[in-house]
């Protein structure tokens, strides 16, 4: 191989290029690439490169195998895994200790191992820390192994590489830049290639780009003429010694610029010579390509974005709270420190009071940090919640044997807080199967015949009336209708084993031609200038005079044919509006057809109108001259052609209309409807055309006929903002739908598009405006733009976002959103690999969000409140006690009690609540999507709730300490009895938080507490290790005093009473004022009266949150919610 691939763009490279240009005439030049990373950071390859040239100058041999720099060659390996055996431990530990809590944990362990400071034995913290680290690490390993497996699967896909004159079967990872590869039909392109040649005429090759941009129609690429003509054999290919200079690797999918230097000439290279990694070769037997970018440099990989660790909003809030708590603790401790220094100064002689105070300070740090245990429980709960998702039978797709998977186990509760949902279209909402459903010919609608054959599959069109009429041949327009379908298209026919197969550029066309075939109008074959059709058994050949191509501006296409009879006819099909504009003045059936179209639209079918026209010979003759000159035009070719087309497509005769169904995935409209009712704003981001997107929007109930659609093209965006800033603008429009359309040309020039997405200003305006609308559809967006939109919404709206998609083009968006969901079970697994959750079907989303998400949010919030409450109320006692022990860091409880309190005595109720609690059943959650609102509004855990919890904990801790204090003041009861009393009360106060599931758990824990206490304070254990079990008989003695029991009783009841009172009052006081307050708050939040959600929501739900408990109350006129509420209580 004698090919040079270089990237131009930075100054080093252009210097190299100059040098190369000097050398190239004198030398054979060798494959040479630079490993991009090394290229950037090390001068080494340059050095090697020059060695190379010099060596070459001397021995001027033909082929030089550059094995010694093979290390620097860019190969096609992709690597998404993070660790290997050596780096795992340091990297993983580094990552783990970046979490504040873990680091703090470590600090505590270190402190505890210092004897002068230690107030608690080392194992109280060390064991939980090790468990946390271990569990985390195990999870990371399994995640990384999964990534490694998928990497391996992708890297070892087979491909053919040209080596030493012939193609050898190799794997994807062996592809290097500069290699020539052979791609067979239906294979996936392994790297970004320059198309050199293909087996098709003119080296055309067809590709499917659904994985990259979501467009399902076939596209074609064509090789340069020079490579096409001179590279037809393997020998020619292996002698190819061209030099490509091109742009640096980048993320722009629709643009490419470069030059091929070959045989002393230069050929410009643009996007239509390039095959990108991820494309699929269609309808083309074989093609050959030169690898330009491989592995991570591929355009699609550049679009993938970086892997970032996602954190839930609650986790972030929690981190803030933990830091806040620590700050408060440190302040408290400092206060205690000063007191303690005074105390020591007053009492002790000899020891430095400052030093003692210092030790005391750290001692308090240790005993006041029980909160660290939170992280461990948090992790565990997340994992189980994820398992529930994995286990859910209602999210198991039986046909493909795929259950739902929670791949990232740390994000569950955020599923209950989604405000914006970004969805891909192709493969996510639609199945990408188009079927001909109905038609209207001469004002008569056919296909609306449900009783004809119920056993037949739904998508098959059958109407006996139509068939009979067609066979009889009496209705000429009916024949004409199907003739148009069979002739007017750009489909290619191919006979495989006697079976006729159609290869269409768009699935719509394929559906129409197939439909015509089903009714006896079989499109047989096409040549450059004829179309052969078998009409009800009779073969007819039409001379193809001209194809008036489809474009998204014209929204129609026509063919001009000469019938076997010699008459010239124009067959035309297109969007209803453009066809109606061009009809002859006296048109029959116009009203009936319009009515039919309306009906079709109601059924969310895609419609097209068909028309024909007889063209007089003389008109054709004059027109064809114009047409010819327009096709030859060098400048303004498009505009001129369009004008010529326009002339021909006039005075048409309307034949009828077709209706095609773009099949949605099961349950998509319902799911979207329910999610919208749940207050989630759904945006559809697609790389597809605007028309297709809107059609899908209607059929999946994202749009309905009451909605007003506002189209926004990029340049107009700012205008809209400046013109209509008044609030009336939004109030007058029920719903605004946005189109963010970019013209294809823009991508190539890389100017306006950049200004659209990169200029923060415009994006900001767009998001600001679009967020107010009920639904947004963005068309023609690249993966990077998808991600940018998500990012902008995330940042500007401070909302929780969810992205769902199935293809490689969604990967970036999935990574960027708070939660990324991949549709599994499809072929390209890349989206799933990068996702946080994977579902087999879009419809499972409603269950994932409304049931699992909501429950998860509820449980996690309850858990946090409960945990903070129990930890604070427990820890604050130490502080109150410090006022009576000279501000020394003496714990108020026994060491074992402290160790087991979180792990054993209180873990069961916490866990049972955090794992099993349900406020309403899953059916109620799905039936009343509005209940989802609590998560979006962050009702259950926020700073206010936190403050309330802390206050409650403070009260409880005061009770816990001061009632026993009063009871034991100036008595002969000793410290251990006191400890046992306070500890027992603390365990008992946990019943404050009782819910459905944890009643049993609380009872179990109490029993466990007594058993464990008696075991730990038994004589036997004391004899074994007096140092560690220093409370022998304390509980036994304490519990033998009725006085102690009375103290415990009072303490517990007084601790629980406030919560009980609040609950009771809360139940009684559903004050109407509260309603109004909520209404107001809600109105502000949702913005504008236009939102239909708002009114009903306020009437139906009032959520009140007191002491971390939440209830849903309803106004009496809504009975369903009444039931919900009963269940809640």
């Amino acid at each position: 191989m004698k090919t040079i691939v270089l990237w131009k763009g930075d100054c080093h490279n252009s210097a190299v290029l100059n040098l190369l240009a000097l050398c190239s005439s004198a030398l054979h030049i060798f494959t040479f690439t630079m490993y991009s990373a090394v290229k950037k950071y090390l001068p080494l390859p340059y050095f090697l490169y020059f060695c190379f040239i010099f060596k070459q100058m001397y021995d001027n041999t033909k082929v030089y195998h550059c094995t010694f720099i093979s290390f620097f060659l860019q190969n096609n390996t992709i690597k998404t895994c993070k660790y290997n055996i050596l780096t795992f431990l340091p990297l993983n530990l580094f990552e783990q200790f970046q979490r504040v809590a873990n680091f703090y944990f470590l600090l505590i362990v270190i402190l505890q191992s210092v004897p002068a400071i230690s107030t608690l034995p080392w194992y109280t913290t060390m064991l939980p820390l090790l468990t946390v680290l271990f569990v985390r690490a195990a999870k990371d390993i399994s995640d990384d192994l999964a990534r490694r497996r998928s990497d391996k699967e992708i890297n070892t896909r087979p491909c053919d590489i040209l080596q030493g004159g012939s193609f050898k079967a190799e794997q994807w990872r062996h592809i290097h830049v500069g290699d020539i590869v052979r791609i067979r039909k239906d294979q996936i392109i392994p790297a970004d290639l320059l198309l050199l040649a293909s087996t098709e005429p003119h080296s055309l090759c067809y590709i499917e780009t659904a994985d990259i941009d979501g467009e399902t129609n076939l596209k074609y690429r064509q090789a340069l003429h020079c490579t096409h003509s001179r590279l037809q054999t393997e020998g020619q290919l292996s002698d190819f010694d061209g030099l490509v200079t091109c742009e640096e690797p980048n993320s722009l999918l629709h643009s490419f610029s470069g030059t091929l230097h070959w045989m002393g000439e230069q050929y410009p290279l643009s996007n239509d010579r390039i095959l990108l990694r991820g494309f699929r070769l269609r309808n083309t037997h074989t093609c050959y390509g030169l690898v330009l970018f491989a592995g991570p440099d591929c355009k699609i990989m550049r679009n993938c974005g970086l892997f970032t660790v996602k954190k839930t909003q609650i986790e972030i809030l929690l981190n803030r709270i933990v830091i806040l708590v620590w700050r408060i603790a440190v302040l408290l401790e400092l206060e205690i420190l000063f007191e303690s220094i005074e105390f020591i100064a007053a009492t002790s002689r000899g020891d430095s009071s400052l030093y003692m105070g210092f030790l005391t300070f750290w001692g308090y740090i240790i005993i006041l940090t029980e909160i660290s245990q939170l992280i461990f429980s948090f992790e565990f709960i997340h994992v189980v919640h994820s398992l529930f998702i994995d286990w859910d039978l209602d999210m198991y797709f039986i046909e493909k044997d795929t259950p739902a998977r929670a791949r990232n186990t740390a994000l569950n509760e955020q599923l209950g807080q989604i405000e914006f949902l970004f969805s891909d279209k192709t493969g996510t909402l639609t199945q990408n199967i188009l079927t001909f459903k109905k038609c209207c010919v001469s004002g008569v609608i056919y296909g609306d015949n449900p009783c004809s054959n119920p056993t037949k599959e739904r998508e098959d069109f059958s109407d006996q009336v139509l068939v009979d009429r067609l066979r009889s041949g009496e209705d000429r327009s009916l024949t004409e209708f199907f003739r148009v379908l069979a002739v007017c298209h750009t489909v290619m026919a191919e006979e495989v084993d006697g079976d006729l197969r159609y290869q269409a550029a768009s699935p719509d066309e394929e559906a129409l031609v197939t439909a015509a075939r089903n009714f006896g109008f079989v499109f047989m074959s096409r040549t450059q200038d004829s179309v052969t059709v078998s009409e009800l058994g009779k073969i007819r050949v039409y001379d193809l005079l001209a194809i008036l191509d489809f474009s998204s501006q014209r929204r129609r296409m026509s063919v001009l044919v000469r019938e076997p009879s010699g008459k010239i006819k124009l067959f035309c099909k297109g969007a209803d509006i453009v066809i109606f504009e061009r009809l002859e003045t006296k048109c029959l059936y116009l009203d009936a057809t319009e009515k039919a179209l309306e009906e079709f639209a109601k059924d969310s079918l895609r419609t097209l109108c068909l028309a024909s026209k007889n063209v007089p010979e003389e008109f054709y003759q004059s027109w064809s001259k114009e047409f010819l000159s327009a096709t030859m035009a060098m400048q303004n070719k498009e505009a001129k052609l369009e004008a010529v087309y326009e002339k021909m497509e006039q005075e048409l005769t309307l034949l009828g209309a077709t209706a095609i169904e773009d099949k949605l995935q099961d349950g998509v409209p319902d799911t979207i409807h329910i999610l919208k009712k749940g207050g989630i704003k759904i945006w559809m981001l697609t790389g597809d055309k605007q028309e297709t997107a809107v059609n899908i929007g209607y059929s999946c109930k994202l749009l309905d006929n009451n909605m007003e659609i506002l189209e926004v093209r990029c340049p107009r965006l700012l205008k809209v903002e400046s013109e209509d800033t008044s609030d009336n603008f939004f109030q007058s429009l029920c719903v605004v739908c946005f189109f963010w359309k970019f013209q294809d040309e823009i991508f190539q020039q890389d100017s306006q598009i950049a200004s659209c997405t990169k200029q923060v200003g415009i994006l900001q305006h767009f998001v600001e405006l679009a967020s107010k609308c009920e639904t947004v559809i963005c068309c023609r967006v690249t993966p990077l733009q998808k991600a940018n939109v998500v990012e902008a919404v995330k940042r500007q709206q401070k909302a929780i976002t969810l992205a769902i998609g199935d293809g490689a083009n969604d990967v970036n968006m999935i990574k960027r959103a708070h939660i990324g969901i991949g549709i599994s079970g499809q072929e390209g697994l890349q989206a799933v690999q990068c996702s946080d959750f994977s579902l087999a079907q879009f419809r499972y989303l409603q269950r994932l969000l409304l049931v699992h998400g909501r429950w998860s949010y509820l449980r996690v919030c309850k858990f946090l409140n409960y945990f903070l409450f129990k930890t604070f109320s427990f820890s604050f006692v130490h502080i109150w006690f410090s006022f009576f022990n000279g501000f020394t860091s003496q714990p108020a409880y026994e060491n074992w009690f402290i160790t087991l309190y979180t792990v054993m005595y209180t873990s069961l109720p916490v866990l049972s609540m955090a794992l099993l609690d349900q406020d309403v059943s899953c059916h109620a959650s799905l039936k009343k999507p509005k209940l989802y609102w609590i998560g979006q509004e962050q009702q259950l855990f926020n700073l206010r709730v936190f403050a309330v919890t802390v206050l409650q904990a403070l009260l409880t801790s005061l009770t816990l300490f001061f009632i026993p204090y009063g009871a034991f003041y100036n008595t002969a009861y000793d410290f251990q009895t006191f400890s046992v009393t306070v500890g027992t009360s603390a365990v008992f106060t946990r019943i404050t938080y009782w819910t459905r599931f944890n009643v049993l758990a609380i009872a179990l824990c109490l029993i466990l507490y007594f058993i464990m206490t008696f075991i730990l304070q038994s004589a036997h254990l004391y004899r074994v290790a007096p140092q560690d079990f220093s409370f022998p008989g304390a509980a036994y003695n304490a519990f033998s005093h009725p006085y102690v029991w009375l103290t415990i009783l009072l303490t517990v009841v007084v601790s629980i009473l406030p919560a009980l009172i609040v609950r009771a009052l809360n139940k009684a006081l559903r004050s109407p004022d509260l309603h109004r307050v909520r209404q107001k708050a809600l109105g502000n939040n949702l913005g504008g009266d236009a939102c239909p959600l708002q009114g009903s929501l306020i009437q139906t739900i009032t959520l009140s949150l007191i002491k971390g408990q939440f209830r849903i109350t309803s106004s009496p006129n809504l009975q369903v919610l009444g039931h919900v509420e009963e269940r809640l209580e």
Binding site: T119, T347, M356, G363, F388, D390, W391, D392, D401, T402, P403, W855, F881, F884, N885, G886, T888, Q890, L916, Q918, C922, I963, G966, A967, F968, Y969, N970, T971, A972, Y973, D974, F975, T977, W994, R996, V999, Y1022, R1023, P1026, Q1027, G1033, H1041, P1042, Y1043, L1046, L1050, V1053, V1054, L1057, I1061, R1063, L1065, K1067, A1068, L1069, S1071, S1115, P1116, N1117, E1129
Partner: protein, 337 residues
Amino acid sequence: MKKDNKPDNTAFTQQRLPAWQPVLSVGIVLPLFFIIGLAFIGIGIGLLITSNNIQEFEEEYTGIGDNSNCYICANNATANCKCTLNFTIAQPIQGSVFMYYGLTNYYQNHQKYLSSRDDQQLAGETYYLKNPSQSCKPYQMDINNNPIAPCGSIANSFFNDAFALYYNNQGFLDEVKLDGSAIAWWTDHNVKFSNPSQTGSNLSQIFEGTVKPINWSKPVYNLDVNNPDNNGFINEDFLVWMRTAALPDFRKLYRRISGNYSSFMPSGNYTLEITYNYPVKDLPGKKKVIFSTVSWMGGKNQFLGIAYLVFGSLCFVMGFILLIVYAKYQNVEDNDD
């Protein structure tokens, strides 16, 4: 098609576990409040009556004031300084009477103090007798590097005042017998503390090689001259002291009144002879002796009784408030659209 990935259909995995939830309906909450209120008031009254029935007599003997009997002893740190305290009991005390000593502003719950002991030594493990734990520092070894037994701050600060009580029976002092047996916890005496055992040797031999705590006047094996079994680590007074107090103001059981006065202490004048050894002036704390009858609730303490009454009443009031709230707002709600 294989269904390998199909999740299990169990109540747990499908989250269908049956659940019972405590219901807080009006019918439960209201009676609950009233019942709790009534019960608490009842308990409160019971506690108050019990507490009031306890007869308690407390006398301070710190010796701070100039005219105090123990002033001299408190300011001259001579060993075994004696002072007497005369007091009058106006009402005869019925029932068995316990004698306590009390200390105030004394932080037995200080962290450094609390941890300054060696449980292994006190449990009678021979190795630790000669090798006390580091936690005892600075009372681990004396200046000659001899191990201290019992080591640590708590032991070192053992309360060593002694009392003798006389009833002034018409000018003639009748000694009131004090019984110091079984004043410590049974578990302390039998489990937590024990003397190091060594067959065929008496206590003084066992403790050979150790020194007494610095502040002590007598070695640990010679604490009770009268009762050889009440010596070493299981000396009852020592055990009581080692059971540290929870709060800085505390009392500890010293003796039970026995003999003729065990069930009845007549009114009249008493004389308490104090062997004043224990300095509290620097704390600054106070020393007291307390005579008290006992009941099921321990010593005299009105706090709990009052607290019960207060919270019981609050429950009652709350119950009424809730009743009104329920009555009022339930109607309003019904009329609300």
